[in-house]
């Protein structure tokens, strides 16, 4: 029993220690300390290093987390504290060992930045808390202590006294709420929701002209990703087709607008609005051309083929073959700005355009989801065989989903190109597809609030917190894995009850039948 505890918690401590070493190697500790100092109101100049005390706060927080998560569900209070202590000691020992190596590097002035690019001397110095060799035992002590404290915190919070207090407070608050709402007249109950929406809408229309060009840019990015996410969701969430090549459709919209509005490759000046429609049509055509031959493919093959499609489009745009036609690697510059009522667009008007496009997309999405078509898509996703048996034209509807999704992607692409006044192959890499996929998966499939939340969290936040930008894609990758394991339905799951087994996002057939089908085919 005791041995098991020691083994389990030292294992947890080991994992935390390895993670900590990894964080130091990618320079995350400096970023975290900078963020903490910003939160506490001490600004750190760009390029300089934060003070040591913020590093200590980061380490303490990390140590508390170690202790917190080392505590298992069963066992006595002392046993739990013991678990936290063991985990803290293991983490501390590992980190101290690592610190020893870093100290050696610091003492001998060995520059390893040629291999480990982030391990600079100031960074090591701050990690050792500015104490050189003394920092090593300090790490060990710090993690041991914070492990114990973290565990005791968790034990305290889980204790009956605490739960009872929380329950009391909760019931008190609920009572208060009831009393207040009973005082209010009935129409507030009935129309309060709409009032809230109205206020939100008002704010949304007021903000772009108020909060400056940079925020408009960030907001526009978020809005475009919402539109792209809706497009992908129609393919992936509604009709269950795993599409990774949405960047290609995005590129079709962007290049249509760019080519029809730029003086350089062709000199066609069609104007923004018609070319936006053309862009959407081209994207639909692209979706159709992609969809027609690959309709019969199963889930993961479809994913790989669409990924290949996206890469083909990108390579073609980058190649010499199309340089005369699409500008090659340099892309298309000087895209003519759209006008509305003879006034040229600025960042505020783009923000409004994106808000309107977003609102229209959301409206269309809801109408589609609740229509006959939407039900047909959902039935295909849940069970293709049953859908076919009940008379759904599976191929037609799958194709339709690709085309509709492509139209959304084309719309986003067109606005994107015009807003940036530039588009090139590097705007349409696999990253874009992965970003959109992350937005939809992390936010929650089939859930518009989820997609909006996802794009705010994944696109908006990293733009606003510039320090995080370096780690954005790393976090995306980790988030995708983490979400799949812990919460496959997303942060804000759709309210539609999941018809399949719990914990699934319900994509096509289950493993067994598909496995057999797979063997039959190949």
């Amino acid at each position: 029993m005791n041995k098991d505890i020691i083994r389990a918690s030292s294992r947890k401590g080991l994992i935390f220690g390895i993670v900590m070493i990894f964080l130091v190697l990618i320079n995350f500790h400096i970023m975290a300390a900078t963020m903490i100092s910003k939160l506490l109101g001490t600004n750190v100049l760009r390029g300089s290093f934060p003070e040591v005390r913020f590093m200590i706060i980061f380490l303490v927080l990390y140590g508390l987390w170690v202790g917190w998560s080392a505590v298992s569900r069963e066992g006595t209070a002392t046993g739990k504290l013991f678990e936290g202590l063991i985990a803290g000691i293991t983490t501390g020992a590992l980190v101290a060992l690592f610190g020893l190596i870093l100290f050696y590097l610091l003492e001998t002035q060995t520059d390893v930045r040629r291999y480990l690019t982030n391990l600079s001397f100031p960074s090591i110095n701050i990690f050792l808390l500015g104490l050189n060799g003394v920092g090593i035992p300090v790490h060990l002590g710090l993690f041991t202590l914070t492990g114990l404290v973290g565990a005791s915190l968790k034990v305290g919070i889980r204790s009956q006294l605490f739960t009872r207090t929380v329950q009391n407070i909760k019931s008190f608050v609920n009572n208060l709420k009831l009393r207040i709402t009973s005082l209010l007249p009935a129409y507030v109950h009935k129309y309060g929701k709409y009032f809230f929406y109205l206020v939100m809408l008002f704010l949304l229309f007021l903000l772009p002209s108020r909060w400056g060009a940079y925020n408009n840019f960030v907001f526009g990015m978020v809005g475009l990703y919402v539109i792209l996410g809706i497009g992908l969701n129609i393919m992936l969430g509604l009709s269950g087709q795993f599409m990774i090549g949405i960047a290609a459709l995005f590129a079709m919209g962007a290049y249509s607008v760019a080519l029809l509005n730029s003086p350089i490759p062709h000199g066609v000046m069609l104007g923004f609005w018609p070319s936006l429609v053309v862009g959407m049509l081209v994207a639909v055509l692209g979706g159709l051309l992609l969809g027609l031959p690959i309709m019969r493919l199963r889930g993961d093959y479809l994913a790989i083929v669409t990924l290949a499609f996206g890469e083909i489009i990108r390579i073609l745009l980058n190649s010499d073959l199309l340089t005369d036609f699409t500008g090659g690697p340099r892309g298309i510059q000087n895209i003519q700005q759209p006008t509305f009522l003879a006034r040229p667009f600025n960042d505020v008007s783009y923000a409004y355009l994106i808000i309107i496009a977003m609102a229209v997309s959301i409206f269309l999405y809801y109408r589609l989801e609740n229509s006959r078509t939407g039900r047909a898509w959902l039935s295909i996703k849940e069970d293709t065989l049953v859908a076919r048996a009940t008379g759904v034209d599976v191929q037609k509807y799958k194709l339709l989903a690709l085309c509709v999704g492509a139209a959304f992607a084309g719309l986003a692409g067109g606005i994107f190109a015009a807003r940036n006044q530039f588009t090139g192959p590097n705007d349409h890499t696999l990253m874009v597809s992965i970003n959109v996929l992350s937005v939809v998966i992390v936010g929650g499939m089939n859930s518009i609030p989820g997609i909006i939340l996802g794009s705010f969290a994944l696109r908006g936040l990293p733009e606003l917190l510039r320090e995080l930008e370096t780690y954005r894609l790393l976090v995306f990758g980790a988030l995708l894995v983490f979400m799949m394991i812990v919460r496959p339905e997303g942060l804000w799951p759709s309210s539609r009850p999941d018809l399949e087994e719990k914990g699934s996002i319900g994509l096509q057939e289950n493993i067994e039948t598909e496995g057999k089908e797979g063997r039959g085919n190949g």
Binding site: N118, P293, L297, G299, L474, V481, G518
Partner: protein
């Protein structure tokens, strides 16, 4: 009668792909034949030694693809899942080999008084063997942990969930490598004896064709590893268990096979092969960076599909075939060398559309059903 009339148009309407797929196929085939006719018969600009050169490079790169493709096939055969992060495992192997070569290069083994001689130049054989061992071990460990962290909790989930997780893992590994080792492109430091570009010279029509040492090493080693793997899967107890798990997990578990352990070992083996491929890639092409595994990974997947995924000889054949097509294709079709990746992707799409079971697909289904 009436019912018949009404159902007729529906039937044709449903089968778009029956019309579209042949048209698509004829277009692709026609284009290929037209280009081949132009280049091989009308123009005839390329002489024999160019073809030999391309053939050699195709075989070498094909060996690397085959090794990676085997990893895809092994995992797919057992879990029915595309291990999207497999290319990144190869990248990790390549980096491990790179660091080992840097390390052996920095050790001086010259006797005092003589000009400095690094370990890797003094004992090239030992350092190459060491590099392969280290690369394979670390990549195998990466494969093991990848399965344990990203895939094992999702064993029972619907099929696309592990795929999303795999994409996430792939991105995570790529970006972790970028943050750890910086995005710069690094040169592999080969031992002097097998420096890049050096090799045996063959004369063909009075033109010199060089068979590089690194290329020969890559090709021979990949063939040896493939033979070793084939023997292992066919003859040893572990191989037997792997085949049993691949054909039916539940029954295999009833027969006393620990399915989890076997899956774990499959990932270790496929990781080791990918690691070897990574070191070969580094030795032969000389470049290593965080993105090095992505394209070979996707192409190796293409190779696995080409040969019929889940089928080990198929993956070997597919890899070789893809390597040859990729090096001969741009020249034979007379298109820009920039588009060689497009050729691989188009082949994959065409194969998936027309023959999802791959070239050797039938063998597999006979064996397994």
């Amino acid at each position: 009668m009436e019912a018949n009339k009404r159902s007729r148009p529906k039937l044709t309407r449903r089968n778009y792909s029956k019309i579209i797929r042949p048209i698509f196929g004829i277009m692709v085939l026609g284009y290929i034949l037209w280009r081949l006719y132009l280049v091989l018969i009308v123009q005839q600009v390329y002489t024999a030694e160019i073809w030999v050169r391309l053939l050699i490079s195709g075989l070498i790169i094909g060996g690397v693809y085959a090794l990676i493709a085997i990893g895809y096939t092994l995992v797919y055969g057992i879990l029915f899942m595309i291990n999207f992060a497999h290319g990144e495992v190869m990248m990790i192997g390549a980096f491990a080999g790179y660091f080992l070569f840097e390390f052996t290069k920095s050790i001086n083994v010259a006797a005092p008084g003589e000009p400095p001689l690094s370990f890797s130049d003094g004992y090239p054989l030992i350092s190459v063997i060491l590099a392969f061992l280290v690369g394979m071990t670390i990549a195998a460990a990466a494969g093991f942990f990848l399965e344990k962290i990203a895939y094992r909790p999702l064993r029972k989930a619907p099929r696309l969930i592990p795929l999303i997780s795999a994409i996430g893992a792939s991105f995570f590994l790529q970006n972790a490598a970028q943050l750890l080792f910086s995005p710069q492109v690094r040169d592999y430091t080969n031992p002097q004896a097998i420096a890049r570009g050096s090799g045996w010279t063959i004369m063909i029509n009075d033109a010199r064709v060089i068979v590089t040492y690194t290329g020969a090493l890559t090709f021979i080693l990949s063939i040896l590893l493939m033979i070793g793997l084939y023997v292992m899967v066919q003859k040893t107890k572990l191989g037997k268990a792997m085949r049993a798990v691949a054909s039916d997990k539940n029954t295999a578990a009833l027969m006393g096979i620990d399915v989890d352990v076997i899956i774990s070992r499959t990932f270790i083996i496929s990781g080791a092969l990918a690691g070897a491929a990574g070191v070969m890639w580094g030795l032969h092409n000389g470049l290593v960076h965080f993105f090095v595994g992505f394209l070979p990974g996707i192409k190796a997947f293409t190779a696995a599909v080409l040969g019929g995924i889940g089928n080990i000889p198929g993956a070997m054949l597919g890899g070789m075939f893809l390597g040859l097509i990729e090096s001969l294709g741009p020249t034979a079709l007379g298109i820009s060398y920039q588009l060689k990746d497009v050729i691989a992707f188009v082949i994959m799409i065409v194969i998936l559309i027309f023959r999802p079971s791959g070239i050797l697909g039938e063998v597999l289904s006979e064996e397994k059903v």
